[in-house]
Symmetry: C2
Subunit: 411 residues, 2 copies
């Protein structure tokens, strides 16, 4: 059941032209406000849907986390917030209870994260990493263009934007060191990703065909898959990344539905060789989403943009990723979060990690305001991702995912 809002629709709630949250968006999230409560956002206003439900304006099944039933309320929210809709607009007492400024709203995770899977579909990132770590081989491994490479991450450390990230300890070993040391990571990095939550699932042995994959998706969020590169280099053979990734993964708080993203569908990059039949996509499985990374050190007063790229730089589409995941019959579950892999463009300045932006630390980033340099992240650094789609006269966006690095615990 799709609901596409007309491009010229306007709300009675004020929305600036460059806001990520016009009436065409209507994302779902959870605010922490006398307990956890399902909410939506318009412009700089957060709306507590539990208050609207208690007032009889809509029917809300689960009140403390986003689920398929909540997502189905999007057309009803459109009705309630459209400029000539008076039910809430003209009820001052209810407005006072339900509406709150975004600047003071405390956001929680939109739904409990059941499983966290991280794909590797950013082909420029995978190529860059291959060049750095296997300089004598082709940058992409032979399987890369045949299947969406991915691995299982850790769900328990997925946190919401704003929560600070503690620099982790880990084992690292330099190539010439006789033994590893256990110490705080010295190569803390971000990874610019997006991810989709599932609101539906499947039973064990059931295979969800690619044509039905998007039906299970609740929508998208921004994802920062924090990484400790020195830990990763030492631990990852032969079974893949483990503790280098599992200390924290930050996500933006608002789930933006596929219906809201529908006007921004684009054809993905050409796939050569053609995908096998079970991964063969429809023509528009990708989305045109502009992405930016900014950094603010503890000494800086404002953020500096250090990268800009686009979600369409993925080789494999979200539908292909989910069809691949389901192809062996593993049960899909509501709350599963699937991240895209790091999204990098093809040029310096468009890369999605410090590892690439500084080319393994060899080309530090300079902070204009303070003259500081960064090879990897330092304590006190604040990393922010934003992302939005530019429509004709409006934007549909994700807000931001931001977090500040805390110093490691003392040993």
């Amino acid at each position: 059941m799709h609901f596409l809002a007309p491009a010229d629709a306007r709300s009675w709630i004020e929305v600036e032209p460059d806001s990520h949250f016009p009436i065409q968006n209507l994302p779902f999230g959870v605010i922490d406000r006398r307990g956890r409560r399902v909410a939506t956002r318009l412009g700089d206003t957060v709306i507590d849907l539990v208050e609207l439900a208690d007032a009889g304006l809509l029917a809300l099944a689960a009140r403390d986390s986003v689920d398929a039933a909540a997502l189905s309320l999007r057309p009803r929210l459109f009705e309630l917030f459209l400029e000539d809709a008076s039910a809430l607009r003209d009820n001052a007492a209810l407005r006072a209870r339900a509406l709150t400024p975004a600047s003071t709203a405390r956001m929680a995770l939109p739904m409990p994260v059941r499983a966290f899977v991280d794909f590797y579909s950013g082909i420029n990132h995978a190529s860059n990493v291959g060049k750095m770590f296997r300089p004598d081989s082709p940058p992409l491994l032979p399987n890369y263009r045949w299947l969406p490479v991915g691995y299982n991450g850790r769900a328990s450390s997925v946190i919401v934007s704003g929560q600070r990230v503690r620099r982790p300890w880990g084992q690292t070993k330099g190539a010439d060191d006789p033994a590893p040391v256990f110490a705080p990571t010295r190569e803390l990095d971000f990874e610019l990703e997006m991810g989709f939550f599932l609101s539906g699932g499947s039973t064990i042995g059931e295979v969800v065909p690619i044509e039905r994959a998007e039906e299970l998706m609740a929508g998208f969020v921004l994802v920062n898959d924090w990484s400790a590169r020195d830990v990763q280099r030492w631990e990852y053979q032969p079974l893949g990344p483990f503790l280098a990734k599992s200390f924290a993964t930050s996500i933006s708080p608002w789930i933006v539905s596929l219906d809201a993203l529908e006007p921004f569908r684009v054809a993905g990059m050409a796939q050569d060789p053609p995908a096998l039949p079970h991964l063969r996509p429809g023509p528009h499985g990708h989305f045109d989403i502009r992405l930016e990374v900014s950094l603010k050190t503890a000494k800086m007063t404002r953020r500096q943009r250090i990268s800009a790229t686009n979600f369409r730089e993925l080789y494999w589409s979200p539908a292909q990723q989910l069809a691949h995941q389901s192809s062996n019959g593993t049960p899909l579950e509501a709350g599963d979060l699937y991240a895209s892999g790091t999204i990098s463009g093809t040029e310096p300045g468009t890369y999605g990690s410090m590892l690439e932006l500084t080319w393994r630390g060899s080309q530090p980033i300079r902070m204009d305001e303070t003259g500081e340099e960064r090879r990897f992240l330092e304590d006190g650094d604040e990393v922010t991702f934003t992302g939005y789609c530019q429509g004709d006269g409006f934007r549909v966006g994700f807000g931001e995912v931001t977090a500040t690095v805390l110093p490691a615990h003392l040993g």
Copy 2:
């Protein structure tokens, strides 16, 4: 709060001398019987603890899954089942409601599996796999003796013993094939493992020291980490196993507590080099648990033992595994399941996978009853693991984890 049952204690419920479930065990599980209900087992009798709670004999908080509160009831169960305890023994009506033969009890997962992590601590298995897949290099990678290598698996496909396992489809590519194919796996395998569930957890950024690691463990189960070797070979670089492992993982239904295993602690193998301080174990972090694998093809009338080994063949102890997992501050959660890695002895006939037992299919196993040969598993094959500790006059065991292979879905 530890409770160790005396070795000479006996129950009023009949327990054969070779039973895995004497009064010294008292494991926890969940039966599916008018809904899910927490239960324990003595000999061939399953006891519905919800009935005992409803009769006022014990206090049960969660009734449908095992949690820390249920686990703390073990001393109370010991009191109720000790041979001269009359409260339940002499109440025929309650006995009729609460006691049921193990042969007819339908078991469910003992607790919802929050996360599934699979270690690789079976050093003989890791060596064997290294010899097969990297014949020109040392069999163990440089990190193996410095940290418990592991990866995140998929929790949603953990199933309970008895549930059949569907042969999965997957992408495979022979070394000389021009392109991969998507087809049912032709190299279906088992992996003999054990695992521990957590009943406690930690918050993000908190590091659980090795001295406290065992306090968070609910107890152990047998684990069959089903694997598709041909899928694994093609997909696993560079981020580790993914769909080759996530179609099914079977576990035995009874969680055996560390207190029940306490008499069977043993020193682990010598660690050289010595573990780094945060992984430095107490002297008895391992357990002497005899493990057996049997196979019964569709044509056979009885199981044939194809392997026998011991849980002590692990390089890293469970406490070391959990201390490593927690060392970066990732939140630990009740319901986390940590598997040991495949447990193999040093000789043929003691290996924990078909891959090793048949040395990559080159030395098929012969079934004595039918003359059939097996390189990997065929449809209709039933794989069973058992495990127990031999005490002085009693055994503490795990029962079994068994499952039969179903044919793949038609394409």
